[in-house]
Assembly symmetry: C2
Homo-oligomer: 299 residues x 2
Amino acid sequence: MSATPVPQLGDFKAYIASIDTFILDCDGVIWQADKLIPGVKETLQALKQAGKRVVFLTNNSSKSRAMYVAKFTSLGLDVSVNDIFGSSFAAADYLRQIKFDKKAYVLGAQGLLDELTSVGVQYVGGYKEDTVNPWTSIDQGYVEDNPEIGAVVVGFDPAINYFKLARAYTYIQQPGCLFIATNHDSTFPAKGGRLLPGTGTIVSALEVAHGSNALVMGKPSHFMLDCVKTAIGYDPARTVMVGDRLDTDIQFGLNGNLHTLLVLTGVTSLETLQSTSNAIRPEFYTPSFADLHAGLRGD
Amino acid sequence: MSATPVPQLGDFKAYIASIDTFILDCDGVIWQADKLIPGVKETLQALKQAGKRVVFLTNNSSKSRAMYVAKFTSLGLDVSVNDIFGSSFAAADYLRQIKFDKKAYVLGAQGLLDELTSVGVQYVGGYKEDTVNPWTSIDQGYVEDNPEIGAVVVGFDPAINYFKLARAYTYIQQPGCLFIATNHDSTFPAKGGRLLPGTGTIVSALEVAHGSNALVMGKPSHFMLDCVKTAIGYDPARTVMVGDRLDTDIQFGLNGNLHTLLVLTGVTSLETLQSTSNAIRPEFYTPSFADLHAGLRGD
């Protein structure tokens, strides 16, 4: 591992001139939970005025793109639905691209269901699925095969239970059935800085039972970048991935041969970034994404 | 990996003379689901008459030892509660041995709750825990710390849900809190030869969230053998582990420096056993445990 520290971004003006497309993670870059990070709104406005393309990427699978527009709007940010890429949208877009024509069995919240509906994928399950125990005894229970199911799609499902896991596991074993996960985040931040178990915990439960890994759509896998590529196109040499996490955001940017910029307004500290045990190294870091405003004002 | 095939047990009489203690897995050795394997009852009776010690080991965490006595009795087998070692008993016995004096938070069925009660461990949770969503929105939800909880004990829980996972994950993070799993079996056999997700799937979900592994009590870890050692004592040189699974039973015997005997009445086929890709090699194999009867009749 290199002992050379990751350099701090200095010449904002030259940097911004070298970039056409900014791909931004949301939580820890734009906002922290429900609080906008100071100066980010003005920076986004200035980037737009300078003719830059700005798109937003999130692994959160519980919200659809339309739900994200509502969140951006509530924070005073003017963002189009076409500029938002979530892991639920990526999963739906993947099924659309492969012309999936069977039914999906879904563990997931409304956002995932909405995205599947928007691309015409029929599904059963979802967070509202009847959760009454259909078995009088667990020793007697099993799930019937369902040849109509051609994919199990796993997102964050706050109504997860054993019977849903059993159904998902049974269908995954059917010949040719796809096993798709929106993302594999092990935790997510809840109120008060607490963490709660993330989608990755549900995905792992099924991976352990099945003995093989899900096709993961979210960062750091390439599917979400494929999704952005299909939608807007971009020149990797003039595109930067901006994020607060090394193992998702920065790894995602490195996987896509993009420029990479770490901000310190989220989970990664400067100490963690510069630790000799950290192998995931962005091109530059800067304390906040709002620092780029300096390069847009002609400072 | 050795290409020498595992030898089939031939001289039953000399073999039995060399063994004092037989440690037997149950499902796939004694019975298949609810059906006794032919000849096993007579073999067990003859072993007892020959003065051999026979004990029974199972990773199934949903039944207590008392529940297992009932199952043995229903199949016409006369077995004492002291001869049965389950992963729930091992978990309770471990807490007893370390003089655990806080409360346990339990994901598990009645068998685990009974075993904890039998050693005086106080607990909250269990499969009957209120499963109503206490949160109006997942975005608002989190679990309060509970300093009374000193261990999270995870067994098979058919009533697992997200809120129980969230509670378990929160408590595991408390300083000094133990993270104990009865077993890590990824699946278990349900009716009609179908598999269902096992305790290992629930344990893995929490391991992924927490970023570290549970202390696993069941086979192949050493805790269950410690449990047997404490209860009955044995000379490893004159003890055999008999089982139908390579990765749990046989590995468990090898870990304890016991003799190992694989039977083919359960999950492992002769082809799998003798495959060059199989690294877990018992000392001998025999088609059925009932074959040993030949060595007890003076054949």
